[in-house]
């Protein structure tokens, strides 16, 4: 009992102290030292880490160097969604000049914490659908950034080029990832418009992948997979099932091609980060205002092809495609 009351009073004391010091801090925070750039990353993940590297490199190129012309505050929530909130609050209380969010939940946490500080999105597929901006063309608020929407249309054109006879396309994704659901919906629309018959199946965890993918592989001529962490983790399982049916897989991510997919047109994560960094620098310099800066897309996608897999499946690669690859 004594311990309990003791703990509560110590906590209350700290909080009262924080209450009043915070109050004064927000009132007198006019010290203009180096501008603080707050970067919030959802978790450590190869793709997200590359985006972060790109952001820092672009900032350095634009003349913003940590400790010299800006103060970098990098926070990684390590995948725990309850940490995102604390870290966003930290940025706001430090009066950062600009905040950068890598991955959708990180961006949502930032957006939730401030309506004034400019926020740049690194890798959010569709900011409008995620409720982050009013409109992708005219964001209207304090948020803008880069979309990592995969070039789905180009990927389906690649399928047409490699498999002219294919009629039925399977779409496989995990129902727990919002990103994937958005992409799969678009992919189904694009495929139907191109005259394909589509079958969509979902998995809820890596445990389902084996069964769902063999069922899907037996029904279709090719399978398309979005940027999906669950399927990416179970890529070997998927490939085992599709190989048994001699069906090629067209994933949206380059690393998944290396693991047994046939081909893709993918975005370079590092380049996405650089674009994000450039937008951040422009806001820091006062050259652009998030409200009027449209969400940007990375235009050029790279063709990535697994020639070994093509040979295995007996798929011939058209010369035009080989030339295109040689030029990129």
């Amino acid at each position: 009992m004594k311990k309990m009351i003791g703990f509560i009073s110590v906590l209350a004391l700290i909080l009262t102290f924080a209450f009043f010091t915070n109050q004064t801090k927000t009132n007198t925070a006019t010290k203009k030292d180096l501008p603080i750039v707050g970067v919030l990353q959802l978790t450590s993940h190869p793709a997200l880490d590359l985006i972060y590297e790109g952001i820092i490199d672009a900032l350095n190129e634009e003349g913003f160097i940590d400790g010299e012309t800006m103060t970098l505050d990098f926070q990684n929530a390590q995948g725990d969604q309850s940490n995102l909130n604390s870290m966003s609050a930290r940025f706001v209380s430090r009066n950062t000049a600009v905040m950068v969010g890598i991955a959708t939940p990180a961006a949502q946490a930032l957006a939730n914490s401030s309506q004034e500080i400019p926020i740049i999105l690194g890798a959010v597929s569709n900011p409008e659908e995620a409720g982050l901006v009013a409109n992708n063309e005219k964001p209207g608020g304090n948020i803008t950034g880069v979309s990592d929407l995969t070039p789905i249309k180009e990927q389906f054109e690649l399928i047409k080029e490699l498999l002219p006879e294919a009629k039925k396309i399977g779409i496989l994704y995990s129902s727990s990832e919002d990103n994937s659901i958005v992409q799969a919906k678009q992919a189904a629309e694009i495929a139907t418009a191109m005259g394909y018959e589509t079958t969509t199946l979902t998995v809820s965890s890596t445990n389902d992948v084996s069964q769902v993918s063999s069922s899907l592989a037996s029904q279709v001529d090719a399978i398309w997979v979005p940027t999906d962490n669950t399927v990416a983790s179970a890529m070997n399982t998927l490939i085992a099932a599709t190989d048994a049916n001699h069906i090629p897989v067209f994933p949206a991510v380059d690393t998944m091609v290396e693991e047994g997919g046939l081909a893709t047109i993918g975005l370079n994560q590092y380049e996405l980060g650089k674009l994000t960094g450039q937008m951040t620098a422009a806001v820091l310099k006062g050259e652009s205002d998030p409200a009027t800066t449209p969400v940007q897309y990375l235009e050029q996608g790279e063709i990535i092809l697994n020639e070994e897999k093509a040979k295995e499946l007996g798929i011939s690669i058209p010369q035009t495609l080989l030339d295109q690859m040689a030029n990129q």
């Binding site: 009992m1 004594k2 311990k3 309990m4 703990f7 509560i8 906590l11 700290i14 909080l15 102290f17 924080a18 209450f19 010091t21 915070n22 109050q23 927000t26 978790t43 450590s44 990684n76 390590q78 995948g79 725990d80 969604q81 309850s82 940490n83 995102l84 909130n85 604390s86 609050a89 930290r90 706001v92 209380s93 959708t104 939940p105 949502q108 946490a109 957006a111 939730n112 914490s113 995620a130 409720g131 982050l132 129902s175 727990s176 990832e177 919002d178 990103n179 994937s180 659901i181 958005v182 809820s204």
Partner: protein, 296 residues
């Protein structure tokens, strides 16, 4: 300093969730896995309702009611279908995954720019996070008072008796099936309401936000017990909240020290295992430095 403030704010909200876990784990003596499904269920229902214009407080209340329904299903499976409690909870939790997806219609629902419970305090211009802290204190006081009053009633005592000794309770004419179902409904209702509050605080509901809630809840209950000892009923509930706050401090400390992110779950498991083992370790080694006063 800011980190202590945010950890306290988060701890208060997660503490409400831990109160729900406390009811099943300590009072009913039944480890209930439903919570991993009813937590995101509450978030999903609340997000959906807020997006269609419902007041955030009403949305949280609706989350409570629907969470209680989830608890009813687990209770039904345990009492009427004679399933082991653990299995019944896992079944409900698994089923809720699909239901949550149906409710949200996608994996992540954003609440940005929508009215939240903490916005009710926005006119006072509190420093950052203090709106969550004040709202959290207000809600925990309300919920703890309601729970204390409820467990003082005849019905509440019957629930406690069921958890203490089911056979004895039945011999006293208590319908233990009914009290078990009631306890599970109350517990999952509170867990779902906490899910609703945390979704509002985070600014989104996510299909995978339920993962690990049981560990967080149990850790809060046990840390509270280990540190503050055996107290009266009302004080034990307060200690659950304090346990949740301390758990947040520990996580914050782990992050500050810069340990590998991949090890975080292992670290939480070790902390929990340590806290669970501490009472018997203390007896074995005769280390009474924690409880000296109580022992004397």
């Amino acid at each position: 300093m800011d980190l202590i403030v945010t950890a306290t704010a988060q701890g208060l909200l997660w503490g409400i969730m831990a109160l729900g876990i406390f009811i099943t784990y300590r009072i009913l003596d039944l480890p209930d896995m439903t919570a991993e499904g009813s937590f995101p269920l509450g978030a999903a229902v609340c997000a959906r309702l807020i997006l269609s214009g419902v007041h955030p407080l009403l949305a949280a209340l609706a989350a409570f009611i629907i969470g209680a329904l989830a608890g009813f299903i687990t209770g039904f499976l345990i009492t009427k279908a004679n399933m082991p409690g653990l299995l019944a909870g896992i079944l409900t939790m698994t089923g809720l995954y699909s239901i949550n997806l149906r409710i949200m219609n996608r994996a992540n629902l954003s609440l940005l720019g929508k009215q939240k419970i903490t916005d009710l305090l926005s006119r006072y211009n509190l420093p950052p996070q203090f709106d969550t802290i004040f709202m959290g204190i207000l809600l925990t006081v309300l919920i703890i008072t309601a729970l204390v009053l409820f467990f003082k009633t005849e019905l509440g005592q019957a629930v406690i008796a069921t958890g203490d000794n089911e056979k004895m309770a039945r011999s006293l004419g208590i319908s233990t099936n009914r009290t078990k179902i009631l306890g599970l409904m109350l517990s999952n209702g509170i867990v779902a309401a906490a899910g609703a509050l945390i979704a509002q605080d985070n600014g989104y509901a996510d299909i995978s936000m339920g993962i690990g809630t049981i560990v967080i809840g149990l850790a809060s209950v046990i840390i509270g017990e280990v540190i503050f000892g055996n107290l009266s009923f009302a004080n034990r509930l307060i200690c659950v909240i304090l346990g949740a706050i301390i758990y947040r401090f520990i996580i914050m400390f782990v992050l500050l020290v810069g340990l590998q992110p991949n090890d975080l779950k292992l670290i939480s498991a070790i902390i929990l295992a340590f806290c669970l083992a501490l009472p018997s370790l203390r007896n074995k080694l005769n280390l009474n430095f924690f409880n000296k006063k109580e022992v004397l």
